[in-house]
Amino acid sequence: MPPLLQIHDLKTWFPITSGVFSRTVGHVRAVDGVSFDIAPGETVGLVGESGCGKTTLGRTVLGLEPRKSGEILLGGTPLWPARHRDTLPLRRRVQMVFQDPYSSLNPRMTIQEIVTEGLLEQRLIRPRDRADAAVRLLQEVGMEPSVLHRYPHEFSGGQRQRISIARAIAVRPELVICDEAVSALDVSVRAQVLNLLIDLRASHNLAYLFISHDLGVIRHIASRVVVMYLGVVVETGSASEVLDSPAHPYSRALISAVPVPFGESRKRTILKGDVPSSSNPPSGCRFRTRCPLALPECAVRVPVLESVTPGSTRQVACIRKNEILDR
């Protein structure tokens, strides 16, 4: 099956300006050469710590941030920049669910207005069918039709996130980008929303780009995982491969750092120091300053993301990956 979304060598840089003339003195390389595909109906989990560029990547795919270079293809068609009148049909195919359900819903719009705005904008329904469409959407996300004329502030975080999801699926997109969509929710509500996303994926044949720092959530929803560190992909593969036997030293440290109840305390790799600044990333491998396995060579050579065995979808950007996997 041809990929639904192809990202090729994508770079999103933000200028750092200084002085009265706002001279550009450098760039924050938020996304610095990222490539991966998403197949129709597939869920790709994008993981990494804050500042690794995962949110910027999601926003760039959606056209909310301008890219510096690289290609984003949706079903073979370049996504941005398209001529303005061509962007409307593209926006119908990619939708987003944001992290914070408190700031991502317009407080002055009723629930009906929020969930049907996209449908009207895309001319998929007539204005007089608005209420019917809204009722149908709310039912799909497990909410009562009685809430139609209420406002976002009347709802809890979990319910607001259901409303956000209803808004996203309203225009029948093929890809939904979920940026930390369940991170702000309490555990008991988080499971409800995850189950809803899993159900909708099946009923609407949705593909998700699921951005999260929570590896437990990724394990349950994603079939494939992409691990980012400081703007680059360090490892990718099926969710079970990457999370059960990570091959990149960063993925290993990240996974071992998650505190999990039950069982004996595991031996964990504790990384030293903080993530370096993405305006001035380390030479060679970007992880080498915190890597417990770094060699002098890591400072010189930029590791390329390559398959662990020829033809495998499991790719790792580390010069010592084979040693790690053999152990």
Partner: protein, 328 residues
């Protein structure tokens, strides 16, 4: 082990525009000397209000103490004159807050804030206080401590600031450290560093009250666990026993909703419905509307905290060994 802190029937109500909001309702538990106790629950369950009230850090009004006492070293913290309380705050009981960014003053250098803390409580000169502070920053693993002393909080990362907060909380060697979600604002690799640090740095006789919603963190650090739901304690017990044999349906559901990293279920087990609003708690057990085991009695009476064995308590009628007996 001796009891260090004893919270008895604590009740705190906030007066809001919509009416009185019961944030903490009849909460009792104790902390022994040298013990690490985890206070667990979802947002709004009253865990932070409980912890902050121990040092009277809750603004009153709108907050109001409705009942209870907190006995620490023979004195009731809730009724102590302010000047006496000041000698306990920071010195005998210290707090590590959730957001180090907002807990430190943005206008003062890190060093000045550490030195001030020391000089407020100890009769030492600035030079000694400065040296002690540098020493502590070194002990919490901050690189280049002298430079960090001269830095302003905005110049440090979240993980580094949390280390500063930990140094500040530990350097007066308090008997009790209250850590309110100390790692929630941090990334997971930094969280691992901070948890390791807390474990190492806490001296043997100091007690730690760890407030968190993360059961993984509780499992790693705590000896005993207190679970709160809708302003009340629903279960209490030693860590392993509570995790392996939860007695309250809420604890069980909470443990079931932990996502494993190694396995994967087709559907996640969920707790149906939502946490009730503190402005309108149901009569009877507050978990009853979401509880798969609820029966008539649960909707009529509030279950008391039953004692299952020493140290093991649960507020569920299913734990009532004499169901016909009268309960208050």
């Amino acid at each position: 082990m001796n009891t260090l802190l004893d919270i008895r029937n604590l009740g705190i109500t906030f007066d809001t525009d919509e009416g009185p909001l019961k944030a903490v309702d009849n909460v009792s538990f104790s902390i022994r000397q040298g013990e690490v106790v985890g206070l667990v629950g979802e947002s709004g369950c009253g865990k932070s209000a409980t912890a902050l009230s121990l040092l009277r850090l809750i603004p009153m009004p709108p907050g109001r103490l409705t009942s209870g006492e907190v006995i620490f070293e023979g004195r009731d913290l809730l009724r102590l004159p302010t000047y006496e309380l000041r000698s306990i705050r920071g010195r005998r009981i210290s707090v590590i807050f959730q957001e180090p960014m907002s807990a430190l003053s943005p206008l003062h250098r890190v060093g000045a804030q550490l030195v001030e803390t020391l000089q407020l409580h100890l009769p030492i000169d600035t030079r000694t206080a400065w040296n002690t502070s540098v020493d502590w920053l070194k002990r919490v693993g901050l690189p280049d401590p002298v430079a960090q002393m001269r830095a302003y909080p905005y110049q440090l990362s979240g993980g580094m600031l949390q280390r500063v907060m930990i140094a500040m909380a530990l350097m007066l060697e308090p008997a009790l450290i209250i850590a309110d979600e100390p790692t929630t604002a941090l990334d997971v690799t930094i969280q691992a560093q901070v948890l390791e640090l807390l474990r190492e740095m806490k001296s043997k006789d100091a007690s730690l009250l760890l407030i968190t919603h993360d059961l993984g963190v509780v499992w790693e650090l705590c000896a005993r666990v207190v679970v709160m739901y809708a302003s009340r304690v629903v279960e209490e017990g030693p860590r392993r026993d509570l995790f392996e044999n939860p007695a309250h349906p809420y604890t069980r559901a909470l443990l079931d909703s932990v996502l494993s990293l190694t396995g994967r279920a087709d559907r996640l087990s969920t707790i149906e419905g939502q946490v009730p609003s503190p402005l309108a708690y149901p009569a009877g057990c507050r978990f009853a509307p979401r509880c798969p085991h609820a029966f008539t009695r649960c909707r009529q009476e509030q279950p008391p905290l039953y004692t299952l064995s020493t140290d093991r308590h649960s507020a569920c009628f299913l734990c009532d060994k004499h169901p016909t007996a009268h309960t208050s």
